[in-house]
């Protein structure tokens, strides 16, 4: 009896174990499927591997990958890593020495130390040998320098896409024009709350919908309109952080007043982006300050509930300085670096650079971004019009966007045309913003203390900012927070950045 029982018990155990392993590994096997389904590849092709984040649920169709391999004569190994675990995978890859030839990692924090330690190739002397890479924008490349050396190529992003999106039908109902100054903005938000802009005889609207993010929400943008520098600026001849400027406090007062008067969502520090957008989509709020590109999404959502809804975008809101200024990003996303653990010789480096140079050819750039002409998009008046089957684009084209190199100006890829007028207008305003951007001067400067402590110190100041805006603390408490920031490393950071600035002049 015991024998029979132990046999079936063993069988059951083995079955369970197999079941568990089958369930557990589905995430891991996704990553390498891209490179498996190929035909014969000539032995003479160079092998190039690249790790890139995947924002979709599935690895894309290898059609485009195969086309690129043929046109550039390489054997491409794309490792798709789910975006949510990308950072962790990078760390693990570092630790186990399994980085690919091309990696796309952030250049701050722990990674910066690795860069300074010489783990990556310095490509300053090579880049000019390649016709397309040579054309990459110098300003943006400068923003990626570490210790004055160039380690990265980039994928471009507009410098600033910030602006306001507002209900233009409400504005028309109340005879309001697009706000040109901060006072007019305040007035519009106030009227949207108090003057029944949707004309339904009910007091059910508020002006501004914001979320709990001081950088990508409304705060930083409004601050830059009011003259606050981008993270760091010149105060009395020395570099100082933005929160030490009087204009920063004025911006905090602006939001504090809005909130206390009930003109914006009271719980904004804990409101997520989805909830913020829902407030606009549901017709509860009328003003959204952030990336003007979101107007498409807001319109799609809102028009389903109310077909008469109308939005418009606007960028130039001026503060007390009288000049329009807006903060800008570094101009790039996805810097591409070349680890020495994967690219072992100078020869290999040159082939990798040649490959990336090839990715910048207009033909390939269009493949990566838009897909196959005729199948995924058509060309109308020199602009690309994507097909309406979003699912097909998601499965076959969109994931490849993450390995684009350069920007439309430098690679010659087609820019898109948009049906929805405000979205097309937003694209124009992105370019308009370029003339008024304020950069973060510390992007290319060095401060060891900053690298080691920036998140914790930033948290200190963010907390103090929120507490002030929520009325939980007063100006004295805010100043105390600044003192604490200085004592816990901030004073050193100011010194280091200023020293680095002097050296770079």
């Amino acid at each position: 009896m015991v024998r029979v029982r132990s046999k079936s018990a063993l069988a059951l155990l083995v079955m369970f174990a197999l079941l568990l392993t089958a369930c557990g590994n589905s995430a891991g096997t996704e990553t390498n499927k891209g490179s498996e389904s190929k035909g014969e590849t000539p032995a003479s092709r160079t092998k190039i591997s690249i790790m890139t984040p995947l924002h979709m649920a599935e690895v894309p169709d290898p059609k485009i990958e195969q086309l690129i391999e043929e046109k550039l004569n390489v054997d491409l190994d794309i490792q798709w890593i789910p975006a949510s675990t990308y950072q962790d995978r990078m760390t693990a890859a570092f630790a186990t020495g399994s980085l690919t030839d091309i990696v796309n990692i952030s250049m701050t924090g722990a990674n910066r130390e690795a860069i300074k330690d010489g783990q990556f190739w310095d490509i300053s002397s090579y880049i000019n040998e390649y016709p397309n890479l040579k054309n990459l924008k110098q300003d943006v490349l400068n923003n990626t320098l570490v210790d004055g050396n160039l380690y990265a190529l980039y994928q471009g992003r507009p410098l600033s896409r910030q602006g306001i999106i507002y209900r233009s039908d409400w504005a028309a109902n109340l005879n309001l024009a697009a706000p040109e100054t901060l006072d007019e903005l305040y007035e519009m938000i106030k009227q949207f709350t108090e003057s029944d802009p949707d004309k339904n005889n009910a007091n059910d609207t508020i002006g501004l919908a914001d979320r709990g993010d001081l950088t990508s929400g409304a705060f930083k943008t409004v601050a830059s309109w009011n003259g606050v520098p981008n993270e760091w600026g010149m105060l009395d001849g020395k570099l100082a952080p933005a929160f030490m400027f009087p204009e920063y406090k004025e911006t905090m007062d602006f939001f504090k007043k809005l909130r206390e008067s009930g003109y914006m969502n009271t719980d904004f520090p804990v409101t997520s982006k989805t909830d913020q957008q829902n407030l606009i989509i549901n017709g509860k709020a009328g003003v959204y300050i952030g990336c003007m590109c979101d107007v498409q999404q807001l319109y799609t959502g809102a028009s389903q509930l109310n077909p008469d809804v109308q939005f418009d975008v606007h960028n130039k809101v001026v503060g007390k300085t009288g000049q329009f200024t807006v903060w800008s990003g570094p101009g790039y996303n996805h810097p591409y670096l070349f680890p020495k653990s994967a690219v072992k010789t100078e020869e290999e480096l040159k082939t990798v650079l040649a490959f990336l140079n090839g990715l910048m050819d207009p033909e390939i750039a269009n493949l990566l971004y838009w897909g196959i002409e005729g199948e995924h998009y058509s060309v109308v008046d020199g602009k690309a019009v994507p097909i309406s089957d979003r699912g097909k684009l998601d499965r076959e084209v969109i994931p490849y966007n993450t390995i684009e190199v350069g920007d439309p100006d430098t690679s010659g890829r087609l820019s898109g045309s948009y049906d929805y007028a405000p979205m097309a207008r937003a694209q124009q305003l992105f370019t308009d913003n370029d003339n008024y951007v304020v950069q973060d001067p510390t992007l290319t400067l060095e401060s060891q203390t900053f690298t080691q402590n920036k998140d914790r110190l930033a948290q200190l100041i963010n907390d103090a900012t929120y507490n002030y805006m929520l009325g939980e603390s007063d100006e004295a408490a805010f100043n105390q927070a600044i003192e604490r920031w200085k004592n816990e490393g901030g004073a050193q950071i100011i010194e280091e950045f200023n020293a680095s600035y002097e050296m770079s002049k």
Partner: protein
């Protein structure tokens, strides 16, 4: 049974052969614990180093107790420590008795269908992730149009800002834990109660004991040892307060009551790539948990109860 598992090697092998099936049953669990819990402890060494992923464990420099001193000297250390202990105390005092009470109450139900339905309904929240639980609380308690504030307003009271006030953090925290975990916790106690000899109840009934008296004098003492074991285990978990849960509730206004070791280490250690520091904090947490378990176990034995070991 326990006499047979003697320390003598010969009799150990003999008892393994005799109780093959039982050992086979616990073998996967043992393997799992060995591979995933014991072997990785080797990584604790990096808390004594300045670990850099690209240098590996062997190549990183040794710094001794530097990270631990940094932790203890950090201006927030005592705040974080006391927050952790307070939240833990709340869990022990308020949350811990609830599954016991629920189990006893469920045991008293006569109608089987009703009992099963209630049991299923209260187990369900355990399967929801903390993100869902906190999001639901957000919708219910939000100042702009949440249900609770709507009710308060219509009853004539003024609205309360539950999410953005430090006074409400601890109540919300405990409430959410009770909602999510109490049902699941009743499982073990129900099993223990079901194991009580029904003859005891019959004898008590014959002596004229009321249901309430039966509960206090029979049920509770019978499950005492189960309660104590679970209590000791819970104490060992003292510093595992659930990073996800607290992180989701943390915001600028409640940080001074809500910051615990895990959230602190996330910002100061992991985000900034300081793996050694993060490991040092984790090491400290584990160490304190160990001391507390040993203490609790010793106390239990002292009072004549069975400890965990």
């Amino acid at each position: 049974m326990s006499n047979q598992l003697a320390t003598n090697k010969g009799s150990l092998l003999r008892s393994i052969r005799k109780n093959k099936l039982i050992y086979l049953m616990i073998f996967p669990g043992l393997l799992y614990i060995l591979i995933y819990k014991y072997i990785p402890m080797y990584g604790l060494i990096i808390s004594f180093q300045n670990y850099k992923p690209y240098k590996g464990i062997m190549g990183s420099e040794w710094v001794g107790f530097e990270h631990f001193t940094r932790l203890f000297n950090s201006p927030d250390f005592w705040m974080i420590f006391s927050n952790t202990l307070i939240l833990f105390g709340l869990q022990l005092l308020i949350y811990f008795p609830i599954p016991i009470i629920l189990a006893i109450m469920l045991n008293e139900l006569r109608n089987e269908i009703y009992k099963k339905t209630v049991q299923t309904l209260i187990y369900l929240p355990h399967f929801m992730s903390w993100v869902i639980v906190v999001s639901i609380s957000f919708v219910i308690f939000t100042f702009d149009g949440g249900i609770i504030n709507g009710m308060l307003e219509s009853l004539g009271f003024s609205k309360i800002n539950f999410l953005l006030s430090s006074d409400w953090f601890r109540p919300m925290y405990i409430l959410q834990i009770i909602w999510r975990e109490a049902g699941w916790g009743t499982i073990v106690f129900l099993a223990a109660i079901a194991a009580v000899d029904p003859q005891l109840y019959e004898a008590a009934k014959m002596d004229g004991a009321s249901r309430f008296r039966q509960m206090i004098s029979i049920t509770l003492p019978s499950i005492k040892s189960v309660i104590i074991v679970l209590l000791i285990l819970k104490i060992g978990d003292v510093l595992e307060l659930g990073f996800e849960h607290v992180y989701l509730l943390l915001n600028s206004t409640n940080r001074h009551v809500a910051e615990i070791f895990d959230t602190y280490v996330y910002v100061s250690g992991i985000l900034q790539g300081q793996f050694s520091y993060s490991t040092a904090v984790g090491f400290f947490k584990g160490f304190v948990g160990l001391i507390l378990v040993l203490l609790a176990n010793w106390l239990a034995k002292r009072y004549g109860e069975e400890g965990i070991y």
